[in-house]
């Protein structure tokens, strides 16, 4: 009886552990099965580099959306990464205990607030501000970048902070003992040593920006056109799916799944590189 239970518990845990594998396989299969036919029909090149998206007329080009996703993500990364890394240095090195006790739950809260709330705030504050001070309608790459930058902060901060704190104390003590200032130690010893962890955090943060849907629907304006400046409206891959899935049918729906494939591939590339970097560090 006892032996039986022993064996059974191991088997049950193993079967439960297969759930993530089956989930990922199912997701991949269903997204691809539903999207591939359209890509095959239109042609991969035409789909990715096509400039015109008019499902009613059978035109399925998503290049403007790829540009949209890339530009908003780039903007968010440019704003979010330096701020995020500074915050993680602050947390790991400068913050007094009291500040840490405020900062850490605050960052947690930041991560927990629904993205629609950020989108709303952006719509009410950032968009009008841009429109008044910089011109245009306000719904723009810039607005999206600012809000996404705030949203990816928790990911970057927490992972970077952990990798800074995980460094052996001897690194810092050794450098300080050699007469380096605290800042020189951080810049020349600690940051380089924690590089791979920080890069992994940044990549995951970028992944979050690429995949975010609600915020970009709310503040980007969603026009399908190549942007000429950061004040122009764009549509991202996620937006395309989110906006049109509600009424799409037939080939149109297939095209949205095909958009999903492109998004999925981008995300998986980011995922795998983040995992690769983290694993290399462990070794």
């Amino acid at each position: 009886m006892k032996k039986f239970k022993e064996k059974l518990s191991g088997r049950v845990f193993f079967v439960l552990a297969l759930s993530t594998i089956s989930a990922l396989v199912l997701i991949t299969v269903f997204i691809f099965v539903n999207g591939m036919p359209l890509i095959a029909e239109v042609g991969l090149f035409n789909f990715i580099f096509g400039m015109s998206w008019a499902p009613e007329q059978g035109q399925f080009g998503i290049f403007p959306m790829i540009v949209g996703t890339v530009s908003v993500t780039l903007g968010a990364a440019l704003l979010g990464i330096p701020v995020g890394i500074c915050c993680s240095i602050f947390m790991a090195e400068f913050a007094p205990a009291m500040m840490k006790n405020i900062f850490r739950p605050a960052i947690q809260l930041l991560a927990g607030i629904p993205s629609v709330v950020y989108g709303f705030w952006g719509l009410i504050f950032i968009v009008p501000a841009i429109s008044t001070h910089l011109g245009g309608v306000g719904m723009s790459i810039l607005a999206g970048s600012i809000i996404l930058a705030i949203m990816i902060l928790p990911t970057i901060i927490s992972i970077s902070e952990v990798s800074l704190l995980a460094l052996p104390r001897t690194y810092k003590e050794g450098a300080l003992a050699l007469g380096m200032t605290h800042w020189q130690t951080i810049r020349h010893v600690q940051l380089p040593a924690a590089k791979s962890g920080i890069v992994a955090g940044v990549i995951l943060g970028i992944g979050r920006a690429v995949g975010e849907t609600m915020v970009v629907i709310m503040v980007l304006g969603n026009s399908v056109a190549l942007p000429e400046s950061i004040l122009d409206s764009v549509r991202t891959l996620t937006t395309n799916i989110g906006l049109e899935m509600g009424y799409a049918a037939g080939r149109h729906r297939q095209a949205l799944f095909a958009t999903g494939i492109v998004l999925f591939v981008i995300i998986m590339i980011l995922n795998i590189s983040a995992q690769y970097i983290t694993r290399k560090k462990v070794k």
């Binding site: 006892k2 607030i113 983040a274 995992q275």
Partner: protein, 278 residues
Amino acid sequence: MRITARNAEKTAKILIWTIALMVIAVLIFIIIFILYRGLPVINWNFLTEIPRRSGREGGIASPIIGTLSVTALAVLIAMPFGVGTAFYLAEYTKGGIITRIIRFCTESLAGIPSIIYGLFGFIFFLDVLGLGWSILSGGLTVAIMILPTLIRTAEESIRSVPKSYREVSFSLGGTKWQTIRKAVVPSAIRGIANGIILSVGRCVAETAALIMTAGYELIMPRSVFDSSRSLAVHFYTLVMDGISERNAYGTAAVLIILVFFINVVANMLINRFVAKGR
């Protein structure tokens, strides 16, 4: 030379402090702003009446129920899988190809955006399984989304149980299963609970995947097979369709308060967990 180093030190310190404080300020500003406009809207009727005229009037009772039921369902479904996987990874395997694959899949799932989950849930639960827009479809979809969080936090807390507890239990004639149940689980339970709370937070905040799987229905759901709009989806609709800014603020305030409470509970669990671990 020395003076430059000292100046650099000073400048860097000031810069980093400024940035950190600015981040905090922005966060506080967002929260205060929403609460300032939203709290006055919240009263007993707002919480207990179902929305009328698409949400222009009435309250948010049915979206609250929608959010709660999707969350409860998702956590109930995901918990055995998540915690089971964590135990498998932490206690039953010493590495090997299958473990590596499981880890890869878990981390990949964590990075997949919710819109992809939405697409999958839409085609699989609605179309293939024929569940239609429903609390069940939404719950199942979100259950997959929260798996990585559950696995990570549970595995971490299982691993943080001192090795000596296991040795003692084995040395007293415990089998592996007995050791896990009596020596490991009691010490890991807070960490596991913390993971569950964090997952609840993720369910409450989820929007994109739920629009596509749980639908927009505003009447009170009678079973898990009914469609129901979650709070976040309701809020989104109120804003985007320009239905009622007043009620949008109210709903957002409720969401923020919910998330805040979830965080407080999670932190309480973590702190006591850490204190006990010492």
